[in-house]
Amino acid sequence: MTIGLLIAVGALTSVGVFLITARSLSRIILGFALLGHAVVLALVAAGGEAGEPPLANRVSAETIANPVPQALALTAIVISFGLTLFLLALARRQQELTGDDLVEDDLEDLRVAQ
């Protein structure tokens, strides 16, 4: 893994964590999307050095990039895509109910704690 990739992953993680702890749901969604990117990038980078695209008819075993983390990362991208869309729908619903997208404290939780 190179310093360039590490910088990208670190920045994405930091900004993601910072944003998901915000009160505004749209920022939280943004944060989750960025965290997703961080994970995917880390996954691909952990697979080893860059190589030729893993297309069996065009490369040899010596120069090929590791396809396994790529396949895992593809699944990760799709899942975080689904998660982001669902959060967007939730934010939309929240806006319809309260007029903004602030995440309020869970009153039920507070009630339990009384």
Partner: protein, 756 residues
């Protein structure tokens, strides 16, 4: 066979749940079938004297966690009691609940659930099986004690029972861990055969026994548990569940025969409990409470005998277990019948009961005489065995056991005498008790259990055929003992005669001076102490809950992120920078920096549109990196996904205010700190992991497999659709669920009724 027994109970649970929709009576009758069948099985196996059957089911092999059951003589004797009395209690309960009661599933199913748990406990052969079913009995007992949801005192009593027996469960777990660690086996037979047990294990197990079997100072939950419906009191709190502690003490006893801690702690606690329980029972006016404290007293007797642990004492203890189960459940059943038919359980209001409810009175006398240990009833033979066991001891041990057992017996005779005298006295003002109609479903089970005390004495050989092998299972020396119908003029008989004489004199004296005000309601200090400590625990748990479950999403997420930092800290020692290079290609570095810059902009940006655009920028730069990395599939997908997400952001959030609400300053520094630490932690962990490359991947194999079995050249695609197809299936299901969720959310918000 054991599998079949459990299977019948599962069928019974389902059947009771179905029948309970219509009427609780039907459900209870259905529920009675499984215990009845089990009783027949247990009786048949005992009398035929077959080799014990066993059953096991592996749960977690690596942890030595297995459910193991073994139906040896002791287990079968307990099964006979648990299921036999259980079946009768189910029949009784069908008379106890009003005929017009609405259908109810909860009570029959919970009671049968308890029955299975208790069955599992007595049949268990590994310590973890014991523990699991032990906890099940605590939970079902909690549910049953708190059955009347509208009664706050019942709820309070249920909590108290759960807290005390739950704490005992933890103690048992700790004790069993120490024991299995010492012995190196989880099988009860191995543990009972070892004599290596430590004092620590002895204390922990005895605490558990004390909580479950209501020994001082943990006894206070049992009188409170009388808030449960009477069938529950008869079944759980006299015949079976409170015996769970005694059962565990009996089966583990072999490991502690040489333990001074075990003997003295058990002896002193048992003797004190039997005296205290008898003493308090003398002062009660509520019939159910008399029986409850009487039960505490009898349990103390059992603990005393098992702590002594000689072969005669073990034999006597098991005899008392059988006799007590019969007479105490009979008494509870009668008291429940009296309560239902007259509307009171108060001794003062029940004078003249022998006229208005003759059958119930006869049953009460029969069971009471057995409890007092007077011939010709089973209780007499059992108590004789206990006295003889004590007379065989020596030294100070004998003194303590003698005081406990003889003193307890005197008190038992006294409170029994007082209770029966109170029921048969003529009412002063000539009032008669008005009792509701005779209910066969209630009367017959009580007649059966009380009658068994008499039949058992007549057919003492059969009882011996059950008790002696069971005692031999626990202590090989017990094989020579048997219960005697008439021991002859022995010392033990003299002692017994004196006990009856003194006890009935005390009982008669109290009965004559029966002005309750003199004695007053006893309020044992122990109950107050245990209540205070339970309140303390509950308050503490509320305070902890308020701290950790505060309802603030940001703080939850901050906590999780901080945990990530801590987890990542473990990697830091392995970080080395020497192998790190700046970038594989200059473009990679540029793109990495671009991503970092775009992400940083995401923090700064004030407008929602701007936020969507920074996300898009990150996505595009990511695609670039994927191309460089040799992952065109990822690049393509990333680009497309990012497009849709950005459009979604703009559409979904377009109607919100253009800018974000201002950031609250309070947590800002904490959030920034945790966020930066998190980023550094992840970088550290990744740097550490890349310092230890895991070697090359099987490139040639993947190439070959992809073309030959996958039929495609795009290896990533073949992995997704062929090698990991099940994952991909799951992934598509996730997408479909998201779609359904989005549609559902949209429909809810569009429904016409919403605006009102």
């Amino acid at each position: 066979m054991i599998e079949l027994v459990f299977a019948i109970h599962v069928v019974g649970l389902v059947g009771a749940a179905i029948a309970g929709r219509r009427s609780i009576q039907g459900a209870l009758r259905v529920a009675a079938i499984a215990p009845a069948a089990t009783t027949i099985w247990a009786a048949e196996s005992l009398l035929s004297g077959r080799e014990p059957v066993s059953a096991s089911m592996t749960w977690v092999e690596q942890l030595d966690l297995e459910l193991i059951f073994l139906a040896d003589s002791f287990a079968l004797m307990m099964t006979l009691l648990v299921s036999g009395i259980g079946a009768l209690v189910f029949v009784y309960a069908s008379g106890y609940f009003a005929v017009d009661a609405r259908g109810s599933i909860r009570f029959p199913v919970t009671l049968l659930g308890f029955s299975v748990s208790m069955l599992g406990l007595v049949l268990a052969e590994s310590v973890w099986t014991v523990f699991i079913f032990w906890e099940f009995t605590s939970i079902t007992s909690f549910l049953l004690v708190g059955h009347k949801l509208s009664d706050p005192s019942a709820q309070q009593a249920a909590w108290r029972a759960l807290m005390i027996t739950g704490a005992g469960g933890l103690s048992l777990l700790a004790g069993l861990l120490v024991l299995t660690d010492d012995v190196g086996s989880v099988l009860l037979a191995d543990i009972a055969g070892s004599q290596t047990a430590s004092p620590l294990a002895a204390v922990l197990v005895l605490i558990a026994v004390g909580t479950k079997s209501a020994q001082l100072p943990f006894h206070s939950w049992l009188p409170g548990a009388m808030a449960a419906p009477t069938p529950v009191s008869a079944y759980l709190h006299s015949a079976t569940m409170v015996k769970a502690g005694v059962v565990v003490m009996a089966v583990l006893g072999g490991a502690f025969v040489d333990s001074q801690t075990w003997q003295w702690l058990g002896l002193i606690v048992g003797a004190a409990t039997t005296l205290w329980g008898g003493f308090v029972a003398l002062r009660q006016r509520d019939l159910k409470l008399i029986l409850a404290y009487g039960t505490i007293s009898q349990l103390g007797l059992l603990v005393t005998l098992l702590a002594v642990g000689t072969s005669k004492a073990v034999f006597a203890a098991l005899s008392i277990v059988v006799a007590h189960a019969l007479f105490k459940s009979a008494l509870f059943l009668v008291v429940g019948e009296i309560d239902i038919r007259t509307g009171t359980r108060n001794l003062d209001e029940l004078a003249g009961l022998h006229r208005s409810m003759p059958v119930a009175f006869v049953v009460a006398v029969l069971a009471g005489v057995s409890m007092a240990g007077i011939p010709p009833l089973l209780g007499f033979a059992a108590k004789e065995a206990a006295v003889e066991a004590v007379l065989k001891l020596s030294g100070i041990e004998q003194v303590v056991a003698f005081i406990g057992i003889v003193g307890g017996s005197v008190l038992t005779v006294a409170y029994t005498f007082r209770m029966l005298a109170g029921l048969s006295r003529s009412p002063e003002d000539g009032r008669t008790i008005t009792a509701l109609a005779f209910r066969p479903a209630m009367a017959i089970p009580s007649i059966i259990v009380a009658g068994l005390g008499l039949v058992g004495f007549v057919l003492l050989g059969t009882i011996n055929g059950i008790v002696t092998p069971a005692a031999t299972e626990l202590n090989a020396g017990s094989a020579v003992y048997e219960l005697l119908r008439w021991p002859g003029a022995t010392t033990a008989l003299m002692v017994s005669a004196a006990v009856v004489l003194v006890g009935s004199t005390i009982g008669a004296a109290i009965h004559r001076s029966e002005t309750a005000t003199v004695l007053g309601e006893p309020e044992p200090v122990a109950a107050r102490v245990s209540d205070a400590s339970i309140d303390g625990v509950l308050r503490l748990s509320r305070r902890v809950t308020a701290r950790v479950q505060h309802g603030s999403l940001p703080v939850y997420l901050l906590t999780m992120s901080a945990t990530v930092v801590i987890a990542a800290a473990a990697f830091l020692p392995a970080v080395s920078v020497t192998h790190l290079e700046w970038a594989e290609t200059p473009v990679q570095l540029v793109l990495g920096l671009a991503i970092a810059a775009a992400a940083a902009a995401g923090v700064q940006v004030r407008t929602r549109l701007g936020a969507a655009l920074t996300l898009g920028a990150v996505g595009v730069a990511m695609s670039g990196l994927f191309i460089l990395q040799g992952a065109p599939d990822l690049a393509l997908t990333q680009l497309l996904v990012e497009t849709i997400v950005v459009v979604g952001f703009v559409t979904g959030l377009g109607h919100l205010a253009r800018t974000f609400p201002p950031v609250t300053q309070g947590w800002l520094s904490v959030r920034l700190g945790v966020a930066v630490m998190c980023g550094l932690g992840v970088v550290g962990a990744l740097a550490a992991s890349s310092a230890q490359p895991s070697g090359s991947f099987p490139a040639a194999d993947l190439l070959r497999e992809s073309v030959e079995t996958g039929g495609g050249n795009n290896i990533v695609n073949v992995i997704l659709t062929d090698m990991r197809a099940l994952d991909t299936l799951g992934e598509v299901v996730v997408l479909a669920v998201v779609a359904v969720g989005v549609i559902a959310l949209a429909r809810t918000s569009r429904s016409p009724g919403r605006a009102q």
